[in-house]
Amino acid sequence: MNRNNIFIHLALALVLILVAAFAGQLNRWQKDWKSRGVGIVPATDKKRPTTVTEIGLNETRSFSRPEVLVKFRSGVSQETIEGIAARFHDRIEDRIESDPGLEAIDDLDNVDAATVVAEYSKLPEVEYAEPNFEITLDANEEPLVPVFPRDPQFSDQWALQNSGQRGGKEGADISAPLAWAKTTGSEDVVVAVLDTGVDYNHEDLAGNIWTRPAGMSPYHDDELGTIDDENGYNAIDNAADPMDENGHGTHCAGIVGAEGENDLGIAGVNWKVKIMPLKFMNAGGFGSTKDAIEAINYAIDRKKAGVNVRIISASWGSTQRSRALEEVIRKAYENDILFVAAAGNASTNNDRTPHYPSSYNVPNVISVAALDRHDELASFSNYGAKSVAIAAPGVEILSTWLGNQYEEKSGTSMATPVVSGVAALILSEHPRMSVDELRKKILDSTDPIVALKGKTVTGGRINAAKAVE
């Protein structure tokens, strides 16, 4: 190596040392600027206001933003908290006044949030630490806006929207307006109301009554003969006319599907649906097991003939078990028909004293208890941690009655068509859903209610909005 080469190498080494020193100083300057809140922060790290609404939320784990929420144990002083933050080279960005000890902490070293959480979680002074999840609206989903019908007596339908009317508990309802933002029902879904018949001429029901499709043969039974079942079936008289002589069936039908947005009376859970009136109970409101079986058999026959009967609503029962009735309900299951049944009104535990048909152990049966407007189990309602699936509003329920009238009635009879109606709403969105899927969807779509804990299988009140998600 000659003398000139030595000088060149020394000069290069000096330049490298100077560059390294300058870079180190730059890094220190940057940290200093950031600690004063004036640093150049990547756009993704900037604090953005988050929008939180009750609907359409998606939780995104935003680990790119080094911010955590740390809850210090009770008794840990603010001085200690600040000392810990300083030790980790972190900044306390905010104190949550409503929850003493909860601090929003910003890491200044660009360490990922998971690491910061792990560091804080190890400290004895810390109760818990978690990333500050970023909450955003799903870009593909518009937030649902509740829909309210213009039916004049809708404001009295606390079951659909409880605004605290008549001293009730606000929100103790099935969230119908939010469900209606997604669907108000479909005329393709047929709900059989197996009851005292239905006043199919009622002005708030007439447009939603099922009519046998043109081209479909009248109902024929080898023993009973042929019946011109234009609007359903009367099993008492083995006749075509299912006109209601009591009012109970008309009331239940209105809950399922009084026409919505028609400037008349009330709105059903479904504004549009097809109600198939099946009559097996007389003017007194009672009927025989044999006639109930005949009517269910009719519904199955029509299903096989092509009518989209997917739900039987059964607001009736007794404590007497009938194997024949159980078997025909099983036949309905095999034909993809849900069977929604009243739990009964004896204030008793169905786990110990079964009530039928709601207590039959058949996969399509949903047993329904009744709630009042305060989210309490109705004083009369049967219950059962193993045998009663779900609860729905069933006290002081306004619905259609004979002669274009409207009346308030109470019973698990009234809670049952609420669940039947929600089932129909689900099917309007998911027409191919199997009966097993439908039942599961309903049982998975509840709001937990304190009064129902240990009283029903789900411990919850049906929520229509969740059901149609």
Partner: protein, 90 residues
């Protein structure tokens, strides 16, 4: 359709017939308004199903031969409640 007075009178006649005594020996002990749990007034016969709607009516208690008997009625029906262990629709 029936009213409370008719229901009480019919209940007395029915009890007299069941006990095979003269109707004058059947005394009215009490008649009260009641909400029954269902549309068979909580007195379903064998094989009978009824709407599970709270049903207003009357609880009628009659006395004969030193015993008390209960009848249940509403505007549509009259029932003997657990007469010798069984319910009867009249």
């Amino acid at each position: 359709m029936s009213n409370k007075d008719n229901a009480v009178e019919n209940a007395r006649k029915d009890l007299a017939k069941r006990l095979k005594v003269d109707a004058s020996n059947v005394k009215e002990r009490s008649v009260e308004d009641a909400d029954f749990p269902d549309m068979s007034l909580g007195a379903a016969e064998d094989g009978e199903m009824s709407g599970q709607m709270i049903t207003p009516g009357w609880r009628i208690r009659l006395e004969a031969d030193g015993k008390t008997y209960e009848y249940r009625a509403d505007k549509n029906q009259l029932r003997a409640y657990k007469f010798k262990g069984k319910n009867h629709r009249i």
